[in-house]
Structures are given as C-alpha cells and as structure tokens.
C-alpha cells in the first residue's frame, strides 16, 4: 500500500517535471530567437549609419 502511494506520487511528479523541462526548452528557444533579432538590429543600425555618413561628410 505504501508502495502504491509512492508510485502515485511519482506519476504526478513526472508530469510536473515534464512541464518544467519543457519551460526550460521554451526559454532556450526564445533566447536563440532574441539573439538573432538583436544581431539583425545591429546590422541594420550599422548599415543605416553607413548609408547616411557620406551625406553628412558632404555637408
């Protein structure tokens, strides 16, 4: 009977742990996506600067 209680608890704990591990993977995927976006922003920022600087030089 005691064993029974333990098995039941393990079943519930597994399901909870599964949610937790999935959340961790979600966070990793989100971080990867953010990283990509930041580097895209930087590239765009620097290209904007590059294209405007000749004009500034002319003034």
């Amino acid at each position: 009977f005691l064993e029974d209680v333990k098995v039941q608890a393990r079943g519930e704990l597994h399901a909870s742990e599964s949610k937790y591990h999935t959340q961790r993977r979600i966070a990793l995927a989100l971080q990867a996506e953010l990283l990509q976006l930041y580097s895209r922003l930087e590239t765009e920022d620097s290209s904007t600067t590059a294209s405007t600087s000749p004009a500034e030089g002319a003034v």
């Binding site: 039941q8 079943g11 597994h14 599964s18 999935t22 993977r25 990793l28 995927a29």
Partner: protein, 283 residues
C-alpha cells in the same frame, strides 16, 4: 451468425475491459494484454491509448491533476511558438504539432531557415494527420502523436530495419510464388517500407482500419505491421503479379484502394496470432 461471432463476443469483451478500467491503480500490463488480444471498443480507445502511452498515470485519482499539467504544457509550448512567430492562427494544426515537438526535443530550426518538411518530419506529419482523424481534442491529439512517435522509436527503433526481412520470411510461408515474382521483378527491395514501417500505415489505411492496427502497436507489437503488409500483398496478388516494374508496384501499394482494408486488417491480426501466438494472460 455474425452477431454471435462478433456482436456477442464484443459485448463480453467490452464488459471485461470495463472491469479492468475500474481498477485503481490501473493494471497497465493487463490493459496491454487485452489490447493485444481484442479490438478496443471505440468509446474506450482514446482513454486506453492515453494510459498505455503514459499520458495518464495508472492511478485514476491523479488523472485530473495530470490532465491539467498536460494541458498547461501544451499551452506553454504553443503560445511560445506564436510569440516567436513560428505559427499563427492560420497554421494547420499538424504543422503546429510538428513545431511543438521540435521545440520539445530541442530541434526547432531557425525561423529564417524554416524549410518545407523533410524525411523524419514527413513521417511525423503523416502520423499527425492520421491521429487528427482519430482524436478530436487538440491537447489529447498532440500528446498522443508525441508519445506514439516517441514510444515507437524508443521501443522498436532497433527492430524496424529488420522488418523487411521478416516480411520476406512470412511471405515465403504464405505465398512463395508471389514472393518469387516480387524478387524477380526487383520490386521486393523497393516496397513502400517507409509508409509501412516508419509511418505505421498512416496515410495508407483509412482511420477505421488504422486504429485497429495501432491498438496492437501501442500495446506493444511492431510485428503486426509485417502481417498487415503481408495481407496487403496477398490481397492484391493478382494485380501485383501483372506488374513487372518496381516503380509500378511501389506506386500501386503507396496509393492502394481503400475498400477492403477492414478485411485486410482482420486477416492480418489472425495471421499475426497464428504465427506469434495469442497473449495468454487472463484478462
């Protein structure tokens, strides 16, 4: 006679399954044995599959809590994918399930490199499309696809490459003439093995027949796939004997007629019991 054979036995079987389902905790072993021996009544199929696939634990007291956890996990993953713009409201559910699965196993491609599905993705999608026909609720559907695919690969991954040999063996027992023809025409090497042994006939059999095959796969047998393949070959023997090109055979079997599939599956299950025995645990 039909009623006696199928109907009456069906009532008895249903009653014994109901008794099994009243156990707390559920005896997963006995449920597997039942499912190996008898077709699952459709009203209990999804519930039994969820227990056999480990989506629900044996203790029925925990079912409500665990179901809630499963639903939360589904919601977490799908809303994250929406936030990442991998999916939107217009994404077909099967593609959503694929991306969810990829995220969960950490194999989500970069969004900039999202490609049309390849290889293993196609197998997953085929299983997903078939499961969608069987299971209405999206949360249940996703979990069943995911656990079906995981369990299948985990339990049978090592056996799959041997199934074509096994098919050859049993076909030689049942119809050596047909086997000889398939060999001579070069067709044996290029039968639709992926459809049969990777997708478990998802997309090849209509859902009513397919679920009876999956009853056996989910409860622990991948051998059943071989016997379904054997019975398909036997059923279309006359047709196949007339095709001398491997491509012709492949194309015919990949798009086989959907008419007699129930009978084919029934014969396949009988053949499987004949060669592999009926599990004898008392139910």
């Amino acid at each position: 006679a039909y009623y006696e054979k199928v109907g009456f036995r069906g009532v008895e079987e249903k009653r014994s399954l109901e008794i099994l389902l009243k156990d707390n905790p559920l005896d997963v072993e006995k449920l597997s044995t039942f499912s190996q021996r008898f077709p699952l009544p459709s009203m209990y199929r999804i519930h039994v599959w969820k227990v056999l696939l480990g989506i629900l634990p044996p203790h029925t007291d925990s079912h409500a809590l665990v179901s809630r956890y499963r639903a939360e996990q589904f919601e977490d993953v799908s809303s994250a994918l929406t936030a990442m713009r991998f999916v939107n409201a217009a994404t077909p559910p099967t593609e959503l399930y694929l991306r969810m699965y990829q995220l969960e196993i950490q194999q989500l491609p970069r969004r900039s490199e999202l490609r049309s599905p390849v290889g293993g993705d196609e197998h997953f999608l085929a299983v997903a499309r078939a499961m969608e026909e069987i299971v209405d609720d999206p949360v249940d559907c996703y979990w069943m696809i995911k656990c079906f695919v995981n369990q299948f690969n985990h339990k049978f991954g090592d056996s799959i490459p041997h199934l074509p040999k096994s098919l050859e063996h049993f076909l030689s027992q049942e119809d050596s003439g047909l086997l000889a023809h398939l060999k001579a025409s070069g067709s044996l090497a290029s039968l639709p093995y992926s459809l049969w042994f990777r997708r478990c006939f998802a997309g090849g059999l209509p859902e009513s027949s397919l679920q009876r095959v999956w009853d056996k796969v989910i409860s622990g047998s991948c051998k059943i796939l071989v016997f379904v393949a054997v019975e398909i070959l036997l059923s279309y023997k006359i047709m196949l004997m007339g095709i001398n090109h491997p491509d012709g055979v492949f194309n015919f079997l990949s798009n086989m007629p959907q008419e007699n599939t129930d009978a084919i599956v029934t014969k396949a299950i009988d053949l499987w019991h004949k060669y592999c025995g009926t599990p004898m645990h008392s139910v």
